[in-house]
């Protein structure tokens, strides 16, 4: 990175922290600190919702996925717009009018305190671990790419975010999110333009996309109904619907966003912004990946994008074999490049009939040869390093940015990666602090205290969760499988917690015992299905929600039906006091 890139990243960090501090000045009251006095406009909340969901893992990992597998990952989001409509009709008005701070607070009013305590603890556990992973993933990648110290990189993500979140509460988080969203979209758009400008003069955008399409990268839709295939139209539409309903409707990191809106209508508007824009935004992210694939057809990249293994391989007994693969790759790359140019030329007007078909099959054959060499190199690295999870998907985008983009643009994209990570981390820290103070501290440990006391405790809670997440990040960074474990852990909870809310909202006779037993049964069922079948994680959300709803209903009926929560009968205003 040149000094100008460093300057851009530094200006970005200063701008965001300053925004957070400036917008979060008047936060002496709890409602102001956690809910911005329920005063924010729909567009700011909507951008904050989108920024929270778009983490650095999304930015770096999804572009890598576009490079490797094309547009098919977009199916993951097909259930999201439907979920937003359902949530706008159900939980948004409910939560907004109940004057609650957390989603779990509602469960105590509807059921009992143990259901609230259990769900909030599940949230705190899974979200705190996930926040560590959100910090770890980009830290590892940037430290590898730039040779930065890993712990310092983790702190570079964590400390500024902890600082403005702690100081300014949810207002700081939201207004920083708005600016971060601008940086993210600006960075992605700049990368897309740079990739298009980087095409050879004789290759049009249409020809480039047809070249990518020849090896399946423009094929977004897969209509097969197979629960063992991760991304299909049906897993995205149905599994994605349940996942989105759970994430946006039951996870405090998202619920807290729209609780800050001025009114029910403004809260609905904030969610509907994602309903309209989430899929197009993700198409942009994936298209950057597809365009990188085209870029690396004409510009030779490394045989493998993650090069931390190189010293180990070069000092092993298989160093000569790896060097041979490297030469084989260089030759296969040249052959594929010629085939790609021939394919682009064959699509031009006046090309002889049949030439396009022949050129296309030649390109596919040469691309297969490149992929085979890369697969051999990957297997060799796994053997030598003993790392069965070795994968270079997340390193394609950072490699492209640092080695092929002009000065200035590198700084902008690195700032966008920081923005994506920090917006997610800030929202998660704020929600962790809210749930720990409202659901645990104020509810069980110190019910009678003034707002100043709770705000002070909330700031300490934000600091605690921030440091905890950085601590988890240092371990997650060393253990690739832990990242996957945290994701699997999340999928155990998500559908089941959604089931509890379905019981609360949709089953009049459901009671606390039913919800509690249903929740245990749902998580157990998800564990069993995950361990004993090949069902992919998107479907686990459906399993969890359905089992909780069915078991919860049966247990509720067997135990006498609905009972009033301890707060039933009091007015909302009394309870909020």
């Amino acid at each position: 990175m040149q000094w100008i890139d460093w300057a851009i990243v530094a200006v970005y960090l200063f701008w965001i922290v300053w925004t957070g501090l400036r917008m979060g000045r008047k936060t002496e009251e709890l409602e102001s600190y956690f809910l911005a006095n329920r005063s924010l406009p729909w567009w700011a909340v909507g951008l904050s919702v989108m920024a929270t969901q778009l983490s650095a893992i999304t930015l770096v990992g999804t572009t890598g996925q576009g490079y490797n597998a094309g547009l098919s990952f977009i199916q993951f989001y097909f259930g999201l717009p439907l979920a937003m409509i359902i949530l706008s009709l159900t939980v948004v008005p409910l939560f907004r009018r109940a004057n609650i701070y957390t989603a779990y607070e509602y469960l105590e009013r509807r059921f009992d305190s143990k259901t609230r305590l259990f769900t909030s603890l599940l949230f705190l556990l899974s979200r705190a671990m996930a926040t560590g992973v959100v910090i770890a993933a980009p830290s590892v990648i940037l430290s590898v790419i730039f040779g930065w110290n890993l712990t310092l990189t983790i702190l570079a993500f964590g400390i500024p975010t902890i600082f403005y979140t702690m100081k300014g509460g949810v207002q700081a988080v939201t207004w920083a999110d708005v600016k971060q969203m601008v940086v993210i979209v600006g960075g992605l758009s700049a990368a897309a333009v740079a990739l298009i400008m980087g095409l050879p003069d004789d290759v049009t955008v249409g020809a480039a996309l047809r070249t990518a399409g020849a090896v399946g990268k423009m094929q977004a839709l897969d209509f097969t109904f197979d629960t063992s295939t991760t991304y299909t139209f049906w897993s995205g539409l149905i599994g994605g619907l349940f996942l989105s309903m759970s994430y946006f409707g039951c996870d405090q990191s998202q619920v807290q966003r729209y609780l800050t809106a001025k009114s029910v209508d403004e809260a609905r508007g904030s969610l509907l912004m994602s309903a309209f824009w989430k899929i197009p935004l993700q198409v942009l992210v994936l298209m950057v990946g597809v365009l990188m694939f085209v870029f690396f057809l004409f510009n030779q990249g490394p045989i493998l994008f993650k090069n931390t293994y190189l010293p180990a391989v070069q000092s092993s007994t298989r160093a000569a074999e790896y060097a041979g693969l490297d030469r084989e790759y260089a030759q296969a790359f040249e052959n594929r490049k010629l085939a790609a140019r021939a394919m682009a030329a064959a699509q031009a007007d006046g090309a002889p009939a049949g030439a396009a078909s022949f050129a296309r099959s030649e390109f596919v054959r040469n691309d297969t040869a490149v992929r085979e060499v890369r697969a051999k190199a990957t297997a060799l690295v796994k053997d030598v390093t003993g790392d069965p999870d070795y994968n270079d998907t997340n390193y394609v985008f950072p490699t492209f940015v640092t080695e092929h983009l002009p000065v200035g643009l590198v700084g902008l994209i690195i700032a966008a990666i920081f923005a994506a990570a920090m917006s997610t981390i800030a929202a998660e820290l704020s929600s962790l602090a809210t749930s720990s103070v409202i659901d645990i501290y104020r509810r069980h440990l110190k019910p009678e205290a003034d707002d100043a006391h709770y705000v002070t405790v909330s700031k300490w809670a934000t600091l605690f969760w921030g440091l905890f997440a950085c601590f988890v990040a240092t371990f997650a960074a060393e253990m690739g499988s832990l990242i996957e474990a945290v994701n699997v852990l999340g999928s155990y909870f998500y559908g089941s917690i959604l089931g509890v809310f379905i019981l609360a909202l949709g089953v009049k006779r459901a009671n606390g015992d039913g919800a509690f037993v249903g929740l245990i049964a749902g998580m157990s069922a998800v564990w069993w299905v995950d361990q004993h079948t090949a069902t992919v994680y998107l479907w686990l959300n459906v399993v969890g929600a359905v089992v909780v709803t069915v078991v919860g209903t049966i247990v509720s009926l067997l135990t006498g039906g609905a009972t009033a929560g301890p707060d039933a009968g009091k007015s909302a205003a009394t309870r909020a006091a």
């Binding site: 009709l89 977004a220 029910v264 197009p280």
Partner: protein, 44 residues
């Protein structure tokens, strides 16, 4: 269920009718999916 009326699911007199917006969300999603299908056919 013993919750206050405002805390129960359902429509509220103060709510705006967003049916047209919800319908538009669905129309946009169908258009996007058809667009992705077309991209697959055109460039695949």
């Amino acid at each position: 269920m013993s919750l206050a009326p405002s805390e129960r699911p359902g429509t509220h007199p103060d709510d705006s009718n967003l049916s047209a917006t919800y319908a538009l969300v669905l129309v946009v999603e169908v258009i996007v999916i058809l667009g992705l299908y077309w991209i697959g056919r055109q460039f695949g």
